[in-house]
């Protein structure tokens, strides 16, 4: 049997191959067992984590996320969620690098507004420049502005991660045309980050030619997160395969039968066609 093209179709970020094109967050789950089960069902190899002040004096025996999802098993992607300034984002990721023993692959997001969590692109570009200078490999959350996306690539970001819609909104792919422009212009992976609500959204992102999809709430806020994680895994794979396969052209108002037109037992089919009011 011929090996399918997709067998060797890896996502390459900063020189490292990943077989899963689904990246998942670890927030908003009920507890650590659910987090672990959902991440496991998603098949994701890259998982995002947040960096936060530790609780002082409370629950000294509290389990740690890194015990549940060990860095030996997953590529952890520390984020800068909640950072609204260059300084906060850079400090957070320096702490993350120390916490994760020198790990340099990070997700940068510099937010502009607590209501929409829309990225502040001016601050994002400044922070990316500093981090790249300091040796970080920056995967960057961005608006779906093709110019900003290209600038981020030019300053050395290793992946461009435009929103599909607002973080945590589940509104799906609102501007496929911009995503397509970003994808066409990019020579680093483009990963849709934020806005995916259900499996078809993830499939559409992949069919557009995205290199991957990053999601958190779509899985964590599903009625059954573990089942949704499994659905997302399949959707990303299906969308990728459909993209590679190349879809048929759309033929508006022009049907084309899949079955042979000759040899039907109803000899009058051609006659019927002539009476079709559309012909």
């Amino acid at each position: 049997m011929r090996k399918r093209e997709t067998v060797l179709d890896h996502l390459n970020i900063a020189g490292k191959d990943y077989s899963s094109r689904l990246l998942v967050g670890t927030g908003k789950y009920k507890d650590f067992p659910e987090t672990r089960a959902a991440v496991g069902a998603s098949g994701a190899e890259i998982i995002t984590v947040a960096i936060r002040r530790t609780n002082l004096g409370q629950n000294p025996g509290e389990p740690n996320l890194l015990d549940v999802l060990p860095p030996s098993q997953y590529t952890l992607l520390p984020n800068t969620a909640g950072c609204y300034t260059v300084e906060d984002a850079v400090r957070t990721l320096r702490l993350a690098r120390e916490l994760l023993d020198g790990h340099t692959l990070v997700k940068l997001e510099v937010l502009g507004d607590p209501k929409t969590l829309y990225p502040n692109m001016v601050e994002t570009i400044k922070a990316a420049e500093i981090l790249i200078k300091e040796g970080f490999q920056v995967m960057v959350y961005t608006s779906d502005d093709p110019i900003a996306a290209k600038q981020l690539e030019e300053i050395g970001c290793v992946a461009i991660m435009p929103l599909a819609s607002l973080i945590g909104s589940g509104m799906g792919i609102l501007n496929p045309w911009n995503l397509q422009i970003i994808i066409e212009n990019a020579s680093v992976p483009v990963i849709v980050d934020a806005g995916v609500g259900t499996a078809s959204d993830a499939a559409i992102a992949m069919e557009l030619g995205c290199d991957g999809v990053l999601m958190n709430t779509a899985i964590a806020a599903a009625q059954n997160p573990i089942l949704m994680a499994s659905a997302m895994k399949k959707a990303v794979e299906a969308g990728r395969e459909a993209y590679l396969a190349g879809r048929m052209p759309k033929k508006l108002y022009s049907a084309s039968p899949s079955s042979p037109v000759e040899g039907t037992i109803a000899g009058s089919s051609a006659q019927q066609a002539k009476t079709n009011p559309f012909s």
């Binding site: 967050g25 670890t26 927030g27 908003k28 789950y29 987090t35 995002t48 984590v49 947040a50 960096i51 936060r52 002040r53 530790t54 002082l56 004096g57 000294p60 740690n64 996320l65 890194l66 015990d67 952890l76 520390p78 984020n79 969620a81 400090r91 320096r94 702490l95 993350a96 690098r97 120390e98 916490l99 994760l100 973080i167 945590g168 990053l214 999601m215 958190n216 709430t217």
Partner: protein
């Protein structure tokens, strides 16, 4: 410094002012008057052995320096962990 001397210093840890005794560790002061090391501080806060990272006055403190007396009155510390996030 005597072992029984409970001199206190104030540190701002994760935004909260907290007082720590420094005399009972019996550590020598360095020339800048810094007395407490991070290892002792973590022990004092029941954080020893945890996966944490520390920033002191805006600068990362590498783990290799946790045993050096470096904390002085008024220092601002951030002690962070990885938590679930997207």
């Amino acid at each position: 410094m005597d072992c029984g001397d409970l001199k206190m210093i104030q540190l701002i840890v994760n935004g909260q002012p907290r007082r720590f005794p420094v005399g009972d560790y019996g550590k020598a002061q360095d020339s800048n008057g810094r007395v407490l090391n991070i290892t002792d501080l973590l022990e004092h806060m029941d954080l020893q052995g945890k996966r944490i990272a520390i920033e002191r006055n805006g600068e990362i403190v590498p783990r290799s320096k946790f045993d050096e007396p470096m904390l002085a009155d008024g220092d601002r510390l951030e002690i962070v962990v990885a938590v679930g996030g997207g």
